[in-house]
Each structure stands twice: as C-alpha cells, then as structure tokens.
Symmetry: D2
Amino acid sequence: MIVILKGDVTEAQIQHVLDRVAELGLRPHLSRGTYRTIVGLIGDEDKISQGALRSIPGVQDVLRVLPPYKLASLEAHPQPSVVQVGRVRIGGGQMALIAGPCAVEGPERMRSIARAVREAGANILRGGAFKPRTSPYAFQGLGEDGLKILREAGDEAGLPVVTEVLDPRHVELVARYADMLQLGARNMQNFVLLTEVGKTHKPVLLKRGMAATVNDLLMSAEYILSQGNSQVVLCERGVKGFDSITRNLFDVAAVAAVKTLSHLPIIVDPSHATGRPDLIPPCALAGLAAGADGVHVEVHDCPEQAASDGQQALLPAQFAELSEQLRRLGELFGRKFSSPTGD
Amino acid sequence: MIVILKGDVTEAQIQHVLDRVAELGLRPHLSRGTYRTIVGLIGDEDKISQGALRSIPGVQDVLRVLPPYKLASLEAHPQPSVVQVGRVRIGGGQMALIAGPCAVEGPERMRSIARAVREAGANILRGGAFKPRTSPYAFQGLGEDGLKILREAGDEAGLPVVTEVLDPRHVELVARYADMLQLGARNMQNFVLLTEVGKTHKPVLLKRGMAATVNDLLMSAEYILSQGNSQVVLCERGVKGFDSITRNLFDVAAVAAVKTLSHLPIIVDPSHATGRPDLIPPCALAGLAAGADGVHVEVHDCPEQAASDGQQALLPAQFAELSEQLRRLGELFGRKFSSPTGD
Amino acid sequence: MIVILKGDVTEAQIQHVLDRVAELGLRPHLSRGTYRTIVGLIGDEDKISQGALRSIPGVQDVLRVLPPYKLASLEAHPQPSVVQVGRVRIGGGQMALIAGPCAVEGPERMRSIARAVREAGANILRGGAFKPRTSPYAFQGLGEDGLKILREAGDEAGLPVVTEVLDPRHVELVARYADMLQLGARNMQNFVLLTEVGKTHKPVLLKRGMAATVNDLLMSAEYILSQGNSQVVLCERGVKGFDSITRNLFDVAAVAAVKTLSHLPIIVDPSHATGRPDLIPPCALAGLAAGADGVHVEVHDCPEQAASDGQQALLPAQFAELSEQLRRLGELFGRKFSSPTGD
Amino acid sequence: MIVILKGDVTEAQIQHVLDRVAELGLRPHLSRGTYRTIVGLIGDEDKISQGALRSIPGVQDVLRVLPPYKLASLEAHPQPSVVQVGRVRIGGGQMALIAGPCAVEGPERMRSIARAVREAGANILRGGAFKPRTSPYAFQGLGEDGLKILREAGDEAGLPVVTEVLDPRHVELVARYADMLQLGARNMQNFVLLTEVGKTHKPVLLKRGMAATVNDLLMSAEYILSQGNSQVVLCERGVKGFDSITRNLFDVAAVAAVKTLSHLPIIVDPSHATGRPDLIPPCALAGLAAGADGVHVEVHDCPEQAASDGQQALLPAQFAELSEQLRRLGELFGRKFSSPTGD
C-alpha cells in the first residue's frame, strides 16, 4: 500500500504513521517530494485495514497496489480456467449458450421450451424455481416442484440445467437437482450465500450486481473460490444507469476488463441487461465480440403469458436465428459453443 | 394500469389486447387519440404482470398508476408511524440518535464507547457482530460473542441496541440479543432475509441499497410489513455515484420524497453515505433539515485502530458536538431526540 | 400527451384541467378508472409545455407518447440515412473508420500518422486543432495552424478530415478546412453551437454527452436537422459510470436502441469510452456487432509523447490489426468500410 | 505525481520511465516495494500529461497528489472569498437568496414576481432571457427584450439581477444589463464561454454540470479565475442519477466537500435538483444546513402558465414561508441573508 500524507503534515504525525505501520509488522519506506510526502508499505498488505490507515492524523489517502482478490486473479492463474457443467465446457475457447424461461411454470411448457432451445443450439437449460421478486405479492416460483420439472426437462432434452438459489438453507436442495447454481445480481454481495455455495462442488454462475464494480464482482468470486470451489463463471448483466431506455446499462467493456484481470470465464446476459427483446440479439453479439465465453438468454414460447419478465424473452424462432448468428461470430474469433454431449 | 399502443398498431392487435385484458378479469377502456391509442385497465392491477402485457404485439409501453406497495403507502396509513425500540420512539416528531462502532471489537472498548455516546446524547447503541465484508479475508465480526458484548454494553449504558443480521438462520439468535435488527444495504433485496425478519416482532432498520430507487426501498419494506411486522425504520445511506470524492452519493432528497409516499420513519446514515468524518456533521444536519426522523453515526474512540471502516467514524468528542447541534436543529423544527428512558 | 390525475383529485380540479387543455387548443378525452382518472390530449402536443401541465393542481404526472424529435425519427424517414464525407459514405451498410491523433501536434507527425492509418484501412482522418481541456493550463491545440496541418495531411493521404469545433465564432473557419465538423461530448447540449453548425452544409459528427440519454442525443441532432442540415452522424462514446476501471461506461446497447428510433447513422468511439488501449479493440468489435455504422479510434505513433490523451491511443500497428478484424466482422454482417476514393 | 509500475515491469522499462521523467525536467524518486515499484516525481507537475505517462510501457497507474486547480484551492486562499453582486455579499457568513421565474415572460409578470420575492426576503432577482432548451421547438427566451424587462424589474424592486448567458458573442450584451452572469449546467464545460466570462469583471454564478465531479466543477471555476475574474459563486443543482423520482440527484455532500477544498462560495438550487415543488423546501433547508452560502429558487405566480419549467417553481406565498424558515436556520448557524441595500 501507499500512504499519501497531507501537504501540511507535521514531523510528529509522520513519525506516528511510521510507528503504526511498524506495529502492524510492515516496513515503511518514506519518500519526501516537493509538495507531498508518501510512505510505501513493504510486507503483507492483508494485515492492514485501509480504513484504519486513513484515520491516522496527517494521512490524505491510502492506495492499494495489489488486487485484493488472489485466487481469482490472473497473477494466480495465468491461463483461462475452464468450468465444466454436465459435459459442457465454458472458457478457453469453448462457449456456453444458456437458454430457457425466466421462471419454471409447468412441466409441458418447460419440456417444449427445452426441446426448442436444444434444437436451436443451446447447451445449458435455465429456469427459475425460486424467484427473487421485488414485490412480495408477485409469483415467487414453484420451489422444489419447479426444480423437479426443470431437471426432467433438461434430462429429456439432453441438457444440463442451471437455476437460481436464494436461500443458504436451500443450497443443498438446489444442488441435488441442478448442474450449476446461479447467484443473482441482488445476491452478489450476499456473503452468507456466497460462502454456502462455495462449500459445494457445483459450478456457480455469479451475476454482477447492479451497483458492483468489476473489482467487487471479482471479490465476490473470491468468496466462492476461497471456500474451495473453483468452478465459477461470471456474468455481466447490466448495471444501474440513468437512461430508462434500457432496463439496465449493459457494460460490455467489463467483459474485456475482466479478461485483463482474471482467469475466470465470463458470459453476458442481454435479457436482463436490456429488458427489451429487440435489443437482445445486438447485445448478445456485442458481448461475444468483446470476448465473452457465452451468452445467457431468456426464451419463452409465449412471453405475453409468462409469469415473470415476459418482456425480456425471445421467442424460440428468434432465439434460433440469434444462435446461428452467434455460432458464425464465434467461428470468426476461433471460439465455439461446447456440445452438450461433450463431443 | 395504462397500456399505450404503438403508432402503427393494427385493429387486430388492438382486439387481441382487449381480449387478453378481459381474460385477466379486468375491464379495458379504449381511448383513441390523434397519434396514439391507449387502453386504461379498470380493476385489480395486482393480477397482472406488466412484463407480460409489454410482450403483447402492438404494445409500446405499460404504466402503473398506483404504487405497488400498499402497506407502506401513505394512502394505507395517512399518519406517520411511530416505531418503538426499547423505550425510544422514532417518528411523529421523535427522533433516533443511533451511535456506536462499526464492529464490536471487545467488551472494554464497547463499554467505553457506549458510555461516551450515551453521555453525548445517543439514544440507541449500534455495533456489528456479523459483518458483511467485501473481502473473504477481512475481519468478519465476533458473532454471538459480539452480540453478548453489545447487549451488556447497552444494558450498562441504559441504551437499547441495534445490530445487523446477515443470515436468515441467525435471525432468531440476533433477535434474542438485540432490540432492533438491521438489514444492510447489500441485503436490501435479500428477499429471504426480509421475509424472515418480517416474521419476528422486532423493529427493523432497513438500509437503502446502493442501486435501489425509493420505490425499491418501499417494496423491500413491504416485504417485512406483509409478514405482519409493522416496525420498520428506513435509512438513507447513499447510493452509487460517479464522483469518488465521497464513498457514496448521499441522496438527501430521498428523505423528503419518502415523506410524500410513506408513513414509515426514515433516518440518515452520513457515515456510510460519505465515508469521510469531516463530511458527517454537515450531512447529518442536512438530513435532519430535510425531515429525517433521526441520524445513525459511527463513533469510535480510536478510528486508526478500528477493525473495520475506521475512516468513517467520529471521535466521541466530535460526536458530542454534533449531537448538540442536531438537538438545537431539531428544536427549530419542533422535533426532539426521544429519551432512552422513555421520559 | 396523457395527463394522470391524483387519487384524491376533486371534480373542480378535473374541470380546471379540462378547461386549461381546451384553452390550449387541444381536445381532452377523460377516462375514469377504479383508482385513477386520466385525460388523453388529442391534437398538437407541441403546443404544450409538460412542465406547465404538471403544475396544475390535481395532476400527478404527464406523459408524452410521441417522440419529441421529428426530423430525426424513424417515423419521419423510415430508411437509414447515408451521410457523405468527401467520398466516404456512412450508413445503409457502408461504414466509417475514423482514425488519427487526439490533437494535431505538428506537420510531420500528422503526415506520418495520416499515411499509417490510411494504409491500415481508415477512410477518414481525425485530429484536434481546438481542444476542450478540463484544465485552463493544459495544451489547447494549435488553432488555425492545426487546421492547415490536418487538411494537408488529409489531402496527401487521400482522406477527408474531421475536426472538432468549440466556438460558434469558429464554425465558418473550421468549415473552410474540414470535411466534417465534430461536436464533442461536452458540447452536445451547447445549443448555440448546434444551431450554428446546423446552418452550414457540412456533415456533423455529434458525440453523445456523458449524462445524455438517447432521447437527449436525438434532440440535439434535431437542433442541427431543424436548421436544414441533414448530414448528422451520431457517436456513442461512453456515459458517466460509477466504476473507475474504465474512463466512461461504453453504452453499446444505445447503438442498437438508436437504430429502433432514428434513421441517422451512429458510430462508436471506444477510445474515449474506455480510456484504455487494451479495451479499444474488444469494444470496437462489440460496437460493430451491435450494429454501428463505423468506428472512431485515436491512433498515435508515440502515445507517451502525445500532447493530450496519449493513454487512449493505439499504435499504428495495433490499429492495422484492429482494422483487419473490423473488416472481417463487417463482412459477416454484410457491411463494409466505404472507400475514401468512392470506388 | 506518483507513478506505479506494473508487477512484471522490467529493469529496462524502469530505466525508460526514469529517463522520460528526467527529460521532462522533473526529478524521479524510485522506491521498490515487495510487490510493486513506485516512482515519485519531484518538481512541477503541471509540466506533465498524466495520459502520456500512463502510456509508457510498464506503467500501471499515475496519481496526482496536488489539486490541478490552483487559484480556486483553499491552499491558495485559506479564507472564504466574498463575492459582491450589487450590494449583496455572498460568502463568509453572508448568504444569497436568489429567486425569480425560470424565464422572463413579460414586463408585468416580471415586475409582480420581483416585488413578491423582494418582500419575501430575496436579495437577488433571477430570470432567463436566453433559455437553453433541449428541444429546438421550445420557447427560447425573449433575448435582449427579456434582459431589459429583467433589469427594469430588478431596479424597481431594488434587487440586483442574475441571468444566464449561452453564447460567447452575447457576453458583453448580457453584462450590460445583468449584475451577475449565470453559466448553466449544460455549459459548465463550455470552455469558450468560461474564458469569455472570465474576461469580464462581472460576478459569475457557475452551475455544476450533471456529470461533473466536484473536481471538474473547481477546474471550470479555475478557467474563469485564470482570466482574472475572481468573482465566482458555485452552485450545486443536482447530478444525473438513476432514480426518476427526482429530476436530478441533489448532491448535498458536495457543498460540504467544496468547503474542504476551495474558498469560493457555493449555493444550492433545489428547483433544478429535484424538479418538484414539494421537495424544494426540504432540500433548500438541507443545503443551508450543510453549509451553503445561499439558495437559488424558481418562483412563479402561476406555474401552470409558465413558458418553461413551471413544475419546479414555488408560488410566492410558498417562497415567503421557505424564506422565513431559511432565515431562522441561518441564524442558528450564525449566517444571515445579505441585505440588497448593503445595510
């Protein structure tokens, strides 16, 4: 860390800073400039709270120079990680195409959508059984029944399945049915849930929170990794923005930025990022062009009857067209959608 | 709800919309303008998903006209609610002054801070036993030991205590020790936790999420209220902003906006909102001037030794000075800090 | 427009609203719902100020249903516009590749960069002669000398040139030298400059402001169009975001959103959007994949000696590689970079 | 400045950095840590472009330690500045209360509003003659006629007047009629206009831009100051936010933050910040409580007939009530509204 002292810092204050740093087991390195004096800290940064250092009189600012995440960093693991979901491989040139309805609504609809997305090229099936809804009066999902329906539809279509887990008490239950656990944007900093999911050996789809920086996202991944679960796939799904023309602000540069910092695969979710079916295809393509390791799209065979978020779903035929465009785009960049059968 | 149709909507599409609405048990009211046709929906809006309506071909937009929260709304309860924590009353002209360290660090420090804030005029003691930390390697709090220390310090100082709960499995445990349960900003849309806390009869301090609108905040309050717990105090603590000069962006207008929509008390937390001790006093005063029902401030007797967030704490002497200013400001507006002894 | 009345509106207030609307020469259409009464306004919306309507007692909200821009809208001009700069055509499947240094620094450097970008596939040369700098002490550009240098370098390389104009008094001067006038992000709502530029017959490159919605951007284009100049190319260059990992937040979905609303071409500027050379190629590709009609990239042969913004420039060799990737990506989508010689 | 080198920087790269720094006339001070090497630059920072340094291979980041504004900084002028408008003094315990309509609409209305706000305690009269409107079709103001009307109304009421200038070619004209020149939020980084206004000796009211940081605001003030005009009053009027419940996000902490950095007075404008008359009084009071040197409020005697922005104006009676509350609040803090007669 680097401690920048105030312009009017006194010699006594400088000495106090040096003493504190030494107390903490670090070696300070003082450097006096024309206008500012700075102290470099040599040793293990993790021993120190930045906030406590900032509280010392005479200190203007404290800067980290190392990323606070270790396991997630590219320095720890310079090669791209590959996460396996069923037989689908995500990362290192292989891509995920996750598709399905926002919520599992019933066995027939689920089966028909599963078949449709499989035919169109999806390699992982999604569907929510536990739904995080902003209103307590809205449809909250079918719970375990939904998990069963999803599992059966996936098995029938030959696709591994991913579904969201909301409650740390349900992690084991959801893990019994699903091949991949999804952590939603609103739970990205639910550290209890991150820890619980980290204790399983299931692959995790970790969605970026609406107010989370890329650094925050990687810190949340670190929570999972630090529990011994290295199977984390990140997902950019839009952050909070000021323009209501889209539901969220799709931060496509974050995909590329993650690639410069971490070995973890990252996919994009243009359904939640835009909330508009007409913007899903262009944003899915943009995500892939920026380097994403896959795409997550909501597909529904009758959005106007969907129990939740119908307006951000594609129809199966629209999805099939997009899937074909994504396939060709991936080819251009030497990446391909992993086969659900592992071929 | 109001459904606005596209400019090039066909008669067949209009009919389809009318049919759908009728299927849902509502009465449509068609109105053809020069440029746009709109459909007003008469009946119970809650039966309908806005998203599903938006997915119908020919529909341009769907607008709610009623707030989606009912119990939290001023229409449901036109008088300000008063929430009681121990003997402290919050709302309707009585104010909270919540103070204490970010984290409970040990019995002696906790006791001495408790005495100091009580003497300075605080009426509720705070301190974190379970800490939500962005890094898995950071101090996570003392857990149940911390709860005991906080309880004892509060009892000794004659102050009710508030502390954060992170895990739905800990709600009962925390409720055994605390007079008020805090839900942190990162958990504002942790619907599982909101529901669990709603099942207790403990007062809840609900902090606004960093990307949450005022409407989102009231919807989260609605989760708690809908479980039968009406003791909710809201807290504005800054939203995500683009200027790193403050840690968050203190949205003081939200305090006044909440007062036009809801009967629930709302306080401000300038410590988290600004992350800078020099900005805490002006922002605390601003919050009160805007109509807040109290203030939440972190106080530490040695911020440079604090285990977390030392840089956003006031020293006891600074807090005492602020407390006196707040008291006089409250007087000007005919509001006063409730006595911890209920006098 | 639609006027939504408050839940507790009185009959006298309703009558007052109806009278006001009639006074303004519009026909009101009243619709009473279970919970809310709404008034549709039939006639020319432009006669009315939304703000004034909102001020009428009993009015809760006022909603526009028509876009406030007319000439820029797709309804006015359903086919994509094609803007011609020199012999380069932008829009309708033809793309721009604008490249050059942030600022014109001298004749030799400008000539060598011009040659390099032309060889690498650029079809328009850029370079700033008047620079908008946040500091009054920073290099402000070479002024008219810079314009001459740019013009000569463009002529020598066989490329039309674009450069920024900052001052309404300089519009004529800049138009004498440049083939296209650039309006920077900070001037997107400089209505005086928009009007002045609208009076010329020069193509305009209009950059989106950092706090501008897509609607704001189209309204600014409307200013230019309403003066009789229809040669407007929009440019997405990032909006203000909360994550300092990139300089701005590249809103790639805005490109696709503009295509649903307007016939005007839109290009992307990943240099300003990200401020990081390593993120320029992925974001340029993402922009094209989302449907952009071209790319604007800063190129410098020695960024570490650049007089301004060196850190967001590509080296000529990096640009050549990107140009080739963009060419192949365009091909996939059936779009191509227009030839600077018009072939 | 401090240059932080990358973790994998080579010795040759370090030497290259040291050479570059020396070439620029600065003295480098190398400091090798366990994980990172940093270079402190000793000498005149203004000689160097941060961007150019960031472009040097091996450089990870470049940090400024001194504020880039000099004349506006507290270090340059440790006492609060007092700006005089007519006989009204702003700063150092004396406050401005600026009131009037958004736009000058006609002589009678202007006179009657001027009288009303003067009686209610305003000490400066405002009114727009040149209006920056997002739509080219909206009312653009009365121009010079508006200036005359404003001047006469101010003279009759005994109030100095402030009005916005949009065009550098109009600065002289506007300065003939007005006692203070307003630079609007959309022009905060219109450096041409800042420079032109800096050449006059008129007091300037500089509004913060919607995407401007506090640092940006102070840099724009520096433009004016660097031209020799030291009469600058800053104005916080809300930044872009994600919650549409208010028109902008009133950043009250910025008022307090400016006080820690600059000697310039700063006032608040709750009309533009919130866009809602019911939130103007609480936000005006909050601004004063946070340390503002005054308040700017739109007042109209019939907002529903206003030619622009009627919905964010107070009625004269509402303004009178607010004025009285502000007076009493100011008293509590030992500040008072300056008399327009200089008494």
